[in-house]
Symmetry: C2
Subunit: 460 residues, 2 copies
């Protein structure tokens, strides 16, 4: 291993809390283990977060979406909002990180900065923000806009928004509040700073009316597979949520992101690649393979077809002949999940697929590569990790007993091998992820000035 840090690095673990089921999962809610209203039941979330915390996970991850129709998957239809959910989990746990998805397209940076900073203080340094720019174009109609932002401005806006939020987070230096009961000095005015940002999308004066937490700033997560998405992740992401269909694809993605980050002057060790994974675990490999196969083959094709329409703005594909050549879709998808939509169109054309074949092809892309006995799954995870396919895994959590198989049967094997932690190293999210606490920019600037002055004096 070329890097000294890599010798004793461990796999970071996230638990993606999906309530009644994640994307494409239309049936988990029928499992008697899950309350039918799990996605709006705070007790369900608290129990899962504590289950993950007992297993020493780094974080829970809350995904999001805001545009629904009656045909949306169960978890989309009716769910708790991430920010309020994170805050409730903050006082219900002690060490685990809390990462929530919030869009830069339909929130203002001052509100984002303030609410995320508040969760960071309430959790005493355990908040993370999954930055998204919103793919569902229909969301625009819920926010007084005729049209969704176009692709380019959505990403430019996201980058500017994150920079403004991070700037606001530094409004107070860490020594801003002497709170001297004797002299009566509560605040040191020289340690409160306006941002005075004037940019393409936002003009924000500041200061923000809240201090930094013990971890300095919430941790920034991002997911995005397009060229623009990868650049944004390389620029701002400290954790990258992704999908790795194969070991090779995982390695290629991780290398690409880390190279882009290094090119931007960042330390690639501080950009953690974390694919989402739903492991299938049973006593034997054969049982696990059969269970995964059974669920996959018994999916309702109509619902899979409806989900297939999402990258194209929830386009209704049931209007086409399934066995005719893949339909001509023109620009459809450009205002939604463009990269996914473009890839589907290209593959369907290149391979000359029918609609049915295309749907099946892309469903197969989402088959879990982590299927087998606890030992097999642990071995696969170790192999991928050592090959550099990821820094951590985000485990899909829907059915509690399925999650327990991972925590109680797979993790002990990995722990034995030193690949996952036995105890938390820290009670902040940055501390557990091995990420540095960012120094306040104003403190840093003053320190730099002071050093320059001192150097001048020494030379003189």
């Amino acid at each position: 291993m070329p890097r000294s840090q890599s010798a004793n690095r461990q796999i970071k673990l996230g638990a993606v809390l999906f309530g009644v089921g994640g994307p494409g999962d239309h049936d988990s809610w029928r499992n008697p283990e899950i309350p039918g209203d799990a996605s709006v039941d705070i007790d369900w979330y608290i129990a899962r977060a504590r289950q993950a915390e007992a297993a020493k996970f780094d974080l829970v991850f809350i995904v999001d979406s805001q545009f629904i129709t009656p045909d949306s998957p169960p978890h989309y239809l009716n769910r708790l909002e991430p920010l309020t959910l994170m805050s409730a989990l903050a006082v219900s746990t002690t060490n685990i990180g809390l990462v929530g998805t919030l869009t830069t397209s339909y929130n203002t940076p001052f509100n984002l900065a303030r609410r995320l900073a508040s969760v960071d203080l309430i959790s005493r340094g355990r908040a993370g923000w999954n930055v998204v720019a919103t793919g569902d174009g229909g969301t625009a109609a819920n926010y007084s806009r005729d049209e969704h932002y176009d692709y380019e401005s959505r990403y430019a806006r996201a980058l500017e928004c994150v920079r403004v939020v991070q700037g606001l987070w530094d409004s107070y230096e860490d020594d801003a509040f002497p709170r001297d009961r004797e002299t009566g000095q509560f605040v040191d005015p020289s340690r409160q700073h306006k941002l005075n940002h004037k940019g393409r999308f936002f003009q924000v004066q500041g200061p923000l009316n809240i201090v930094r937490s013990r971890q300095g700033q919430p941790v920034i997560f991002q997911a995005g597979d397009s060229d623009e998405g990868r650049d944004l992740g390389a620029a701002i992401g400290e954790g990258i949520f992704t999908h790795a269909p194969t070991l090779e694809a995982g390695v290629a993605f991780a290398r690409d992101i880390k190279a882009r980050a290094a090119a931007k002057g960042r330390n690639p060790d501080h950009v953690l690649i974390q694919p989402g994974v739903r492991p299938w675990i049973a006593d034997t490999d054969a049982e696990a393979i059969e269970a995964e196969r059974y669920e996959r083959l018994h999916k309702d094709f109509g619902k899979t077809l409806a989900q297939f329409g999402r990258p194209f703005g929830w386009h209704d594909f049931s209007q086409y002949d399934l066995d005719a050549p893949f339909p001509e879709l023109g620009d459809l998808g450009n205002d939604s999940f463009k990269t996914q939509a473009d890839r589907i169109k290209a593959v369907a054309k290149e391979r000359n697929l029918t609609l049915r074949q295309a749907v099946t092809f892309f469903s197969e892309q989402h088959r879990s590569p982590f299927v087998g006995s606890p030992l097999t799954v642990a071995n696969t995870i170790e192999e991928w990790f050592r090959a550099g396919a990821f820094d951590g895994l985000n485990i899909t959590v829907t059915i509690p007993s399925e999650f327990a198989k991972f925590t109680d049967q797979v993790l002990p094997i990995l722990r034995e091998r030193g690949l996952v932690r036995a105890e938390y190293e820290s009670d902040t999210l940055r501390g557990n992820l091995g990420l540095p606490v960012p120094e306040n920019r104003w403190t840093q600037a003053r320190r730099a000035t002071d050093e320059a002055v001192r150097d001048t004096l020494v030379e003189a």
Copy 2:
């Protein structure tokens, strides 16, 4: 008493959690009982909310502001954000209501609806929203606006925003989710509704992706003393937060608001008047009077003068001669707290006051009328309540032992007289406040149609 309900009505109680001190309170943070960082310490808030819940309070109340300078009062400088704070308190309490201040000027209705509904579910029906339109004009610069909204459009926007939020809250009827594990039906599409709002300020399609709680919708609170403010309160307010300097002023205000509400076709019993109060309690009347007087006379005049500038957009009054006639201010304050600013200008002119006299005059207006021994304070509260000056009181909570004097010494007297509850009647906020659960508008519309059809059949 003319109304049957009034015979056994009780005083509603709110606890206004002020951390290191409310408006104009620059010194409480020096009290050794209060952690210097109380305003950002979730444990302080949880302890106070539980103290209020143990005393069977109806609700805790979280005020807010977003524009600061280095001279802002301590609690303003650095505080938890209301929405995230409410959610953390929701899982830390069981019966008490949670009312948070959120502005309609710098939030979008979809985000407001979703986040408040989420807190309402997390608390299992205990959320309330204090609707404000933002008085501090400087806030605009934090939200990419050159200027604050003018007075008229701020109030019109607030009304439209609340109506949109309430419309979104009804997106799902209460029977929308059959979740039939046998048939596989999760949602009943006929019970999910778009709002399709197209108004002056907002265009919002919906549906919102979250169900109603057990109380139907969060309770709407409002504060506003101007003609526009009173009309808004009478239109939307189920609780009205106000200031009552004297019994007579309280009675006049309550009568006015209830008359305005009745004129709008609302039941005046469902508009609860709740002045904010800081009681001064000691073993004897003389001790209490002396304690209140001591604190008042030892206020730092410079800080009182800075606070005096708030209605005028935090105008700096230290530039004027204190003993010269009150300065000519022109339109100053029109974009901030206009009603307060206009009143100050008018009174200063009418009474020919110097600046110093004006500052003192308006400070006196905020002297607490509830000063004395526990028995005296209980008697005063009973007198005001029976005269119709309020339906409830919002007690300022900063110093825990001061609050304990109210809960442990005054409340038992009022409880003995049947004027406050001994046990919660309900575990929802509406239940405890005696407010009805609003029927879902779509359910109501269908019921009305069904009844009309049935009547036609009966007649035929």
